[in-house]
C-alpha cells in the first residue's frame, strides 16, 4: 500500500518509515519528511493529545489521498500520536515519496499544514507550576491551511 496512516500512542520509527517509503518504487527520486515534536519553553512539561477516534483516521486518509493525487506521489505516510507526550517527544510524522524533490517537499508542507487545522486533534498543555490549558487554534495555522485551497467535499 502506498498510503500509510496511523493514529497511535506509541512512538514511531523514522528510519523504518523512511525505508518503507523508499522501497515503494524504483521511480522515487526524493522523499520529504516532517516530524513535529513537543516544543519546550515557559515551563511546559507535556502535551496531551486528544482525538476523535474513527473520524481522525477517515480525515487523515482523505488528506493522504488528496496529497497523492495533487502531487503525483508514489507514497505517503501520516502517523500521529495521541496521549501524553513530554517535551522533546515526537508528535507527528508526515512522509512523502515522489519522482522529483519539488513534489515531495510541497506535498510534505501541504499535508502538515492541512493536518494542523483539519484533523480532529486537540492539545492540552501541562506546566511545571501545575497550570494546564487547552491550546488555542492559531490563526496563522488556519491561513497556512487555506493557502492550499478548500478541502474538496468528500463523498460519503
Amino acid at each position: 500500500m502506498s498510503v500509510r496512516v496511523l493514529v497511535q500512542q506509541a512512538a514511531f520509527d523514522t528510519g523504518a518509515e523512511t525505508a518503507r517509503l523508499s522501497s515503494l518504487s524504483d521511480h522515487i527520486g526524493g522523499m520529504g519528511l516532517f516530524i513535529g515534536q513537543v516544543r519546550g519553553g515557559d515551563g511546559l512539561l507535556s502535551l496531551t493529545l486528544e482525538h476523535y477516534p474513527g473520524m481522525t483516521e477517515t480525515i487523515l486518509n482523505q488528506l493522504a489521498q488528496e496529497g497523492m493525487q495533487r502531487f503525483s506521489l508514489l507514497g505517503c505516510t501520516v502517523i500521529h500520536r495521541v496521549g501524553r507526550l513530554k517535551v522533546g517527544e515526537p508528535i507527528v510524522l508526515v512522509g512523502t515519496a515522489a519522482a522529483h524533490r519539488g513534489a515531495a517537499l510541497s506535498a510534505t508542507s501541504f499535508l502538515i499544514d492541512r493536518l494542523k487545522t483539519g484533523a480532529p486533534f486537540w492539545k492540552k498543555e501541562e506546566f511545571a507550576n501545575g497550570h494546564a490549558a487547552w491550546v488555542d487554534a492559531r490563526e496563522e495555522d488556519e491561513h497556512a491551511a487555506a493557502t492550499w485551497g478548500q478541502m474538496p467535499p468528500s463523498s460519503s
Partner: protein, 87 residues
C-alpha cells in the same frame, strides 16, 4: 419516524461539560444542528452556559465536518468541539 442522536463532546467542551457523550431523542425529521442545539440549550443550563462561553465551536455529523445548518436524522452521530489543534 422517531429515534435518537448520539452527541459527543471533545477537548475543552468535554471537560467543561463534564461529559463526553449523551443520547438525545429526535422526534421529527428536518431539524438542523442549530435547531436541535437550541432545544438542548433551553433544557440544559450547563450546556447553554458552556456553549455561550466557547467561541468558534465546530460540529461534525457522522464524523464529517459540517455546518450548523446540516440536517440531522435519527441515528446520526453529532460531535461538538473547539477548533482543531493537531500536528
Amino acid at each position: 419516524m422517531t429515534g435518537h442522536v448520539n452527541i459527543l463532546y471533545f477537548a475543552a467542551l468535554r471537560e467543561q461539560l463534564g461529559r463526553e457523550s449523551q443520547q438525545v431523542p429526535l422526534s421529527a425529521n428536518g431539524q438542523s444542528v442549530a435547531d436541535l442545539l437550541r432545544v438542548l440549550r433551553q433544557h440544559d443550563a450547563m450546556l447553554d452556559e458552556v456553549f455561550a462561553a466557547t467561541p468558534r465551536i465546530r460540529v461534525a455529523v457522522n464524523q464529517k465536518l459540517g455546518g450548523f445548518d446540516t440536517c440531522v436524522q435519527p441515528g446520526d452521530e453529532l460531535a461538538f468541539f473547539p477548533p482543531m489543534t493537531g500536528g
